[in-house]
């Protein structure tokens, strides 16, 4: 059953009640509870194609987004994100409830998942070959990811590369792509048919909006892909589009710096990171024009398997 099959009034009712709604995004299930209308609206707008477990009695993560039970409910209201009943972030202004849910869902994975190797990276795929884009915030990673997805690449994630430590393959979440500030209009112009949510202003990251994941990406979220390219993107206003080969050892070190649990996994983390790099061609990439950037990646041939 997809979330879009739940009538919106019923969705709001279930989210506000004790049973919540259990979403399945890639390998993880998350039970979400929230009485906040903007959370229900955001889920309906952006997660419509995502599978829900109607009678789930088990989930990987249990989260809530709700107002604190203090007088602040009425005076400059705030919102909390709770995981397993515990607030994990400082409260935010109430209108930021949906972005807070998105950040919280990322946190659930990075803070709790120990059986996959996790990198801070966007991942998209063509056929079954993955393009991994590790980068810190502000590098243009999500914009590039959204542009590629709007051009037909399969979305795995705009935030997390999830590596199966047994097989060395990547799996996806296919959750909404987070767009910030100027990139919101860039994507609206680049992909006018894509659904981008209403912007939420004045967050810690500025103005944020979300691109709905394509249904095909959602449906194939669990289909594994093999690493093919590791590209370190950097948006630079006015820069020429430039793809520069990077020595694999340098790429390894940079990828490891973008890992969430490389050190925790010890030998296994090292071996799987090395495997991933050895199977990929590695580049630095500088761009300012999204259309040129997308054309560059569309023209790339994957390395032989």
């Amino acid at each position: 059953m997809r979330l879009a099959e739940i009538p919106e009034a019923q969705l709001r009712h279930r989210l506000a009640g004790p049973e919540g709604v259990t979403l399945v995004t890639g390998p993880f299930s998350t039970r979400i509870r929230s009485p906040v209308a903007s959370v229900a609206r955001g889920l309906a707008d952006l997660y419509g194609d995502v599978r829900v477990e109607p009678d789930a009695d088990w989930a990987d993560f249990h989260v809530q987004v709700r107002a604190p039970r203090t007088p602040r409910r009425w005076f400059r209201p705030q919102v909390l994100f709770l995981s397993e009943g515990r607030s994990v972030f400082k409260p935010l202004a109430f209108h930021q409830a949906f972005p807070m849910l998105e950040w919280g869902l990322n946190w659930c994975v990075t803070a709790n998942v120990k059986h996959h190797l996790l990198f801070h990276a966007a991942v998209v795929a063509r056929e079954d070959r993955a393009l991994i884009l590790p980068a810190p915030p502000g590098s243009g990673k999500s914009t590039l990811c959204a542009g590629l997805v709007a051009s037909g690449w399969r979305l795995l994630s705009d935030e997390l590369a999830i590596v199966d430590v047994e097989a060395g393959t990547l799996t996806g979440l296919a959750r909404p792509v987070s767009l910030k500030n100027a990139s919101i209009e860039v994507i609206r112009s680049f992909a006018p048919d894509a659904f981008v949510s209403d912007p939420c202003h004045d967050t810690l990251k500025g103005t944020v909006a979300h691109l709905r994941p394509p249904r095909a990406s959602v449906d194939r979220a669990l289909a594994p892909v093999r690493p093919a390219w590791v590209v370190f993107p950097r948006f630079e206003p006015g820069a020429e589009t430039r793809l520069t080969p990077r020595v694999r050892t340098s790429a390894f070190m940079e990828l490891a710096r973008n890992a969430f649990n490389y050190t925790v996994l010890g030998r296994l983390g090292f071996r799987r990171t090395a495997d991933l790099i050895e199977r990929s061609v590695c580049y630095d990439f500088t761009y300012s024009r999204l259309d040129e950037a997308v054309a560059t990646f569309n023209a790339m041939e994957p390395p032989s398997a």
């Binding site: 050892t249 390894f252 090292f270 050895e278």
Partner: protein, 99 residues
């Protein structure tokens, strides 16, 4: 010459260390500390020579084995190798062989 070297100048690769060669360079992982280091081509060649020599090698012994293998064309000296071995010791990649 190597057999005549002072024992404290002979080193073996710490068997716990993991390393992977890529494009002529290497990345190494020290499980005890969780540290990862990147080695240039020269240091990678020294590391490759050390692997498998459980009795320990000193710089004079390593050098001809490197020359026998593939090394950049630049001339190298025993002192260069000795400096790399000391770096390896400082990083915890090598240890003294059991006597």
């Amino acid at each position: 010459m190597g057999d005549m070297a002072r024992p404290d100048q002979r080193f073996v690769l710490d068997p716990a260390v993991l390393w992977r060669q890529m494009d002529g360079e290497a990345v190494v992982f020290l499980p005890a500390s969780g540290d990862t280091h990147r080695l240039d081509r020269f240091a990678t060649n020294v590391l490759a020579v050390l692997e498998g020599h459980t009795a320990g090698l000193d710089a004079e012994t390593v050098l001809p084995l490197m020359r026998h293998g593939a090394v950049d064309d630049e001339p190298v000296s025993v002192d260069d190798v000795a400096a790399v071995l000391q770096d390896f010791r400082r990083l915890g990649l090598v240890e003294q062989p059991a006597s």
